[in-house]
């Protein structure tokens, strides 16, 4: 646990200067003074900037969830308001980046690719799970409320703990397994186009966790595999290259107590998936496969 609060800045800065001061230190102090003046000016400028943005017609009002276990004033969660000047094509992520770079550099959120492929910026925007980089501000009503993903613990601001999600993803043996690879050195396995087409959508998952966050069953029951992990299982179970025997094994995995049977076809996963994966459909298909499979032995 790292709950220690870093020494406050005042302390370090006002430490009495008794020791002989080196030239370098003097220079730094000089700079520090200048900097403080400049900062004051900047703060002024910044609030002016915000004021101006607020007044400007083309600005968006964001209400952003803030929380930090270590920082006083943020230990109790609160919402901060940001007014961000709007530009054609601006996404929620762009607005957050702007707010961070221009107003408050401690605003914290995950992001990387800006093109809906890394899956790091799923958040709760105006009440539903959205991938921020893929959500145009112009499609939202103001004020735009940005919160961390529900049903996950908040680490700080908009960052949630993804460990549980990763654990579930990795619980379904999410790797290709087969017992008979072709002989020749440069021989690939054959796969029909139809079969690739069948698994195609399921391979598009970017592990953003939006689906898991939207599913009430997953929220109530931490053991439930959740839509993304089941979809991962689907991706392999339906891949003809793995062979029949492996498919049996895969069905056993998703059939366990907290596998597919927990899904109550809420459809919220399908609704929020930014990659348009038909999750409910995949889950339902696995249920049917599992039932068929069981009937064989009855």
């Amino acid at each position: 646990m790292s709950t220690q609060v870093p020494e406050s800045k005042e302390q370090t800065e006002s430490e009495p200067e008794t020791k002989p001061v080196s030239q370098g230190k003097q220079k730094r102090d000089q700079k520090k003074r200048e900097r403080r003046e400049r900062e004051a000016a900047e703060a002024e400028e910044q609030s002016q900037k915000e004021e101006a943005a607020k007044l400007a017609e083309d600005s968006y009002h964001l209400k952003v969830f803030r929380y930090d276990p270590e920082v006083e004033g943020k230990q109790e969660p609160r919402f901060d308001d940001f007014h961000v000047p709007y530009k054609q094509g601006m996404t929620v992520l762009d607005a957050l980046i702007y707010a961070r770079d221009e107003y408050d550099s401690s605003l914290t959120f995950r992001h990387s690719c800006r093109q809906a492929i890394c899956g790091s910026d799923a958040m709760f925007v105006n009440g539903s799970q959205k991938l921020c980089c893929k959500t145009q501000l112009s499609d939202l009503s103001e004020p735009v409320r940005v919160e961390p993903l529900p049903h996950a613990e908040v680490v700080k601001d908009l960052v949630v703990d993804m460990e549980h999600f990763y654990d579930q993803m990795e619980a379904v043996e999410p790797y290709f397994q087969t017992n008979d690879l072709p002989e020749g050195e440069l021989e690939e396995q054959r796969q029909t186009r139809e079969n690739r087409e069948k698994v195609k959508m399921s391979t598009r998952c970017i592990w953003c966790g939006a689906c898991m966050s939207s599913c009430n069953i997953a929220a109530g029951n931490n053991d439930y595999l959740g839509p993304a992990a089941i979809n991962k299982a689907y991706r392999f179970a339906m891949d003809e290259r793995e062979g029949e025997e492996m498919k049996q094994h895969r069905l056993e995995i998703i059939e366990r107590e907290n596998g597919v049977w927990r899904c109550q076809t809420q459809f919220s996963c399908t609704e929020v998936c930014p990659k348009d994966i038909p999750l409910t459909e995949h889950i339902q298909e696995l249920k049917r496969e599992a039932v068929k499979n069981n009937l064989k032995f009855w």
Binding site: D167, E170, A171, V172, E173, I217, G220, N221, N222, D223, Y224, L225, I253, E255, R256, E257, N258, G259, W261, R262, Q264, K287, A290, V291, N294
Partner: protein, 123 residues
């Protein structure tokens, strides 16, 4: 990891039965409602009329089956809902047996009532 899912209680059977009973209930429930609210009005129901119907074996067995399926379907539904809310371990086992007991009671009581109408012993 996968070990966490080692419980071999596959929910599959209960899931399937929930669907099967649902499909059955659609038909029987519709019949039941129709008979008792539209053909006869509930207000006019008397012991004698019920008794009359119950004496036919087919009606009697249909109603018992109706009772059993409805109980299974309803109680299993409740049980599922509780599991979905994260019920597990001892509490889960406890709830399970409470529900089983309640269902047994319900079914026994129902059959006794039916027997009363059909003129069979009510034990």
């Amino acid at each position: 990891m996968a070990e966490r899912y080692s419980s071999f209680e596959t929910g599959g059977r209960r899931w399937l039965w929930q669907r099967i009973t649902a499909a059955f209930l659609v038909v029987v429930l519709a019949f039941h409602f129709f008979l008792l609210h539209f053909v006869h009005h509930a207000a006019d129901v008397t012991f004698a009329m019920s008794a009359g119907r119950m004496e036919t074996l087919s009606y009697y067995s249909l109603m018992v089956l109706f009772l059993v399926t409805a109980t299974f379907h309803g109680v299993n539904g409740v049980y599922n809902a509780l599991i979905n809310q994260g019920l597990s371990g001892q509490r889960k086992t406890a709830i399970k047996w409470v529900l089983v007991a309640a269902s047994a009671l319900l079914i026994v009581q129902g059959i006794r009532t039916a027997n009363a109408w059909a003129g069979l012993p009510t034990f």
